[in-house]
Amino acid sequence: MNDSTPSNSRKVWGWLLVILVPLVLGILTSLLVRQPVVGIIQVKDAIYSNTAQDMITQIRYARENPQVRAVVLVINSPGGTVSDTESVYLELAALREVKPVVAVVEGMAASGAYYLSVGSDYVMAKSSSEVGNIGIIGYTPSTPQVYDSVYSTGPYKLWGYPKDKFIRELEALKLGFYQAVKAGRGDKLKASPEVVLSGQIWLGSEALQLGLIDELGTQSQAFDKAASMAQISNYAVKDLRELAGIPEPQVSSFYGMTESGAPTHLPLEAGIYLLYIPELEGQQ
């Protein structure tokens, strides 16, 4: 009997060891399985060099960080410059190769901001969101002239384009925009090219009918959608700006100022824009 008691006890301890040790080790090891993150990229300003560079940094962080399993663009922007928008759009395309991207329109996704929307896998908006304004806007170059005190090496060095060529290049950029819409929306796009390129802004509910967005929904639903696409659950939502260590943005230097210091709707610098400019009249 005495012989059997230690033996049994040893057996019990042996079994406990077999269970507890691996269990504890398993629990500790499982902590290495990190909670997946749905990263947020806020697009809440005009898209220009500063904001575009911030977005590109966040997109690269999301692509390279395995914990970030999906990205949600939270958009409230009138658009921005053509080249900066295109840069962000192409970075998003690279991200989408490995992780799903969902766009949710808060106040407005106009022009270049909608360009980014169609650069995502799924687009949501509120019924009252403003969506669209697809097209290009630019300032016609001046008629070339020469100055006594300025020398340049070509007739268009100072002006960039002949007037008529400028018009046609706008048209080429417009075609690129339309191709982006077609590529992003595919068969879901129900509106004709003429309607899409009319430059209109639609309410979210109208945009849904036209196939410009996929669903009416909120940010939370967008996070869930992104998580669902990434096949994750019990995820965390984190701002990629913080994760990537990007400081808070300074006051926007994109728009011009009136004499009283109030911002205008017009960009500070002449250029070619994917931009919604309300109340253009009187601000020229």
Partner: protein, 527 residues
């Protein structure tokens, strides 16, 4: 042996333990993993982006060069550009049009006077008004309307891209929009311009607002051209000829609809051309499609009007060199020479050469000086005015010819040699006047002369207090007859040629003007 016994562990138990170790080790890992992850994200389809390399800027395949114009005008015509109403353009912008006008031999002038009397319209052949910002006064509109009625050509253009942005501190703050202003001009011609722009998103010239037009109507303006491109244009409503009509896919920004929108129109007389765009005639857009040729056709339109001159054009009544008829046998009196000099000075001022001849010169216009008593001799020129002359015959003048010379109305028989040694020149001597009315408004004094001229519409007028301007326009010759009672009053009439104004001195009715003059015989005082 005991040791041996203890080392022999049943195989099944060991395997079980190993399994349990792995199971308990993996369970939390698997649980946590499954808690977070339901699968592995794999794209179903490839990410699609635009094929940027394949996108080409559209190139206009429409450009044609316009041929150089060889036609020349038979006389130098004048096209006036109105810049008085704060027009939102400069002449240098529309150099293709001004060059085309110059190529045709016409001259361009600018009207900067605001409000404008449009004095230039007395001799101009065409008036061009583009993108005005200041409203036209009623009398300006009347002057323009009269000009068009007399055959002057009018080109009115408004452009949706040419809007003047006034401010409170700007004098134009209270001006109307450009379309409102031009519609006031175009209202008499049944043309109304919409405050819109036309667009075509299906077929255009590089941009939705650059509308291609192929229905150009059937007028001289469409000669030799098949396609015009307008760069943002107003549309029109017109009950007359439409010269630029858009296709079914061109819409108005007012309602996003359009049924064959008109972007250019001619009035019923084909003297008023209205266009909704001026950009097409600026560089570089005039080089697209047949725009350059169209601009040349517009220049031809502006210089091909047939002006119907009347006394409203005074003193620009002549469109050819002027011959003044004189009597070959007689030399003019000093008064006649003075009148001739004044006439020459007046016509020189308006670039009309004048020469004196005894017979009308073919191809010339005619200026005739005549005394009332010579009415029989000029009846061929003045018969249409149905004048009745009651002039006391002057014996010494009965045999004189009409024309640049005249006979003294008061035959004193005194022959006064002139510096030109004219043995027939007579010094006028006042004669008593017994006009019925005693006091009359012509000259203000009391006339003692009974001679009268009855002018339809004016009644019986004292001959020594009036002068008549009688204008007979014609296809081959314009004739102006200046008639008065005597030498001094005829000289006063010639003054009007120099002053260039009839208003204040004359009452004009169609091609007849009754002017207030006084003869040396009438006493009292004149104008």
């Amino acid at each position: 042996m005991k040791i041996l016994t203890r080392t022999v562990v049943p195989t099944g138990t060991v395997v079980l333990k190993i399994i349990l170790v792995f199971a308990f080790f993996l369970a939390p890992i698997a649980g946590r993993t499954l808690w977070y992850y339901r699968g592995v994200y794999q794209r179903v389809d490839a990410v699609s982006v635009p094929d940027y390399k394949s996108i080409q800027a559209p190139v206009p395949a429409l450009s044609t060069s316009a041929p150089l114009r060889s036609e020349k005008l038979t006389r130098q015509q004048v096209v006036v550009f109105d810049m008085a109403h704060s027009s939102v353009y400069s002449l240098s912008e529309i150099q293709p049009l001004t060059s085309a006008i110059a190529d045709l031999g016409a001259r361009t002038e600018i009207n900067n006077e605001y409000p404008s009397s449009y004095r230039q319209l007395r001799y101009a052949d065409a008036l061009v008004i583009i993108a005005p910002s200041y409203a036209f006064m009623t009398y300006e509109l009347q002057a323009i309307n009269e000009f068009v009625k007399r055959g002057g050509r009018l080109l009115v253009i408004a452009d949706p891209t040419r809007v003047y942005n006034g401010s409170y501190y700007d004098p134009s703050y209270f001006t109307m929009s450009s379309t409102d202003i031009v519609n006031a001009l175009l209202a008499p011609y049944d043309i109304n311009m919409m405050d819109d722009y036309a667009y075509n998103v299906v077929e255009n010239e590089g941009n939705f607002r650059n509308v291609i037009l192929t229905d150009l109507g059937n007028t001289p303006l469409s000669d030799g051209i098949s396609r015009v491109v307008l760069y943002a244009a107003h549309s029109f409503k017109s009950g007359n000829q439409v010269i630029l009509r858009a296709g079914e896919n061109t819409f108005s920004s007012l309602n996003d609809q359009g049924e064959s929108l008109a972007m250019g129109a001619l009035d019923a007389s084909a003297n008023v051309l209205a266009l909704g765009d001026m950009t097409f005639m600026t560089s570089p857009f005039y080089q697209v499609a047949d725009n350059h040729h169209f601009v040349q056709n517009i220049a031809s339109f502006l210089t091909s009007g047939i002006r119907q001159l009347d006394l409203g054009n005074y003193p620009y009544l002549f469109s050819r060199p002027v011959t003044i008829l004189t009597q070959s046998e007689k030399t003019a009196s000093p008064e006649f020479v003075a009148a001739l000099a004044k006439a020459q000075q007046g016509l020189k001022y308006i670039n009309i050469p004048l020469h004196v001849a005894s017979q009308p010169t073919e191809g010339d216009d005619l200026l005739v000086f005549a005394l009332f008593e010579q009415n029989e001799q000029v009846k061929d020129y003045i018969s249409e005015f149905k004048l009745e002359f009651s002039i006391t015959p002057k014996p010494d003048s009965s045999g004189s010819d009409f024309g640049g010379g005249y006979l003294d109305p008061t035959p004193t028989g005194v022959v006064t040699p002139t510096p030109y040694d004219d043995p027939f020149s007579l010094t006028p001597t006042p004669t008593p006047y017994f006009y019925d009315g005693g006091y009359d408004s012509y000259g203000g004094g009391v006339s003692t002369n009974k001679d009268t001229v009855t002018v339809p519409g004016f009644g019986k007028l004292p001959a020594d207090r009036i002068g008549l301007l009688l204008y007979v326009p014609g296809d081959v010759r314009n004739t102006l007859v200046m008639m008065a009672y005597d030498a001094s009053s005829l000289s006063q009439l010639a003054d009007l040629l120099t002053s260039g104004e009839l208003g204040g001195s004359c009452t004009v009715q169609n091609n007849l003007a009754v002017c207030n003059v006084f003869s040396s015989s009438s006493g009292g005082y004149g104008y």
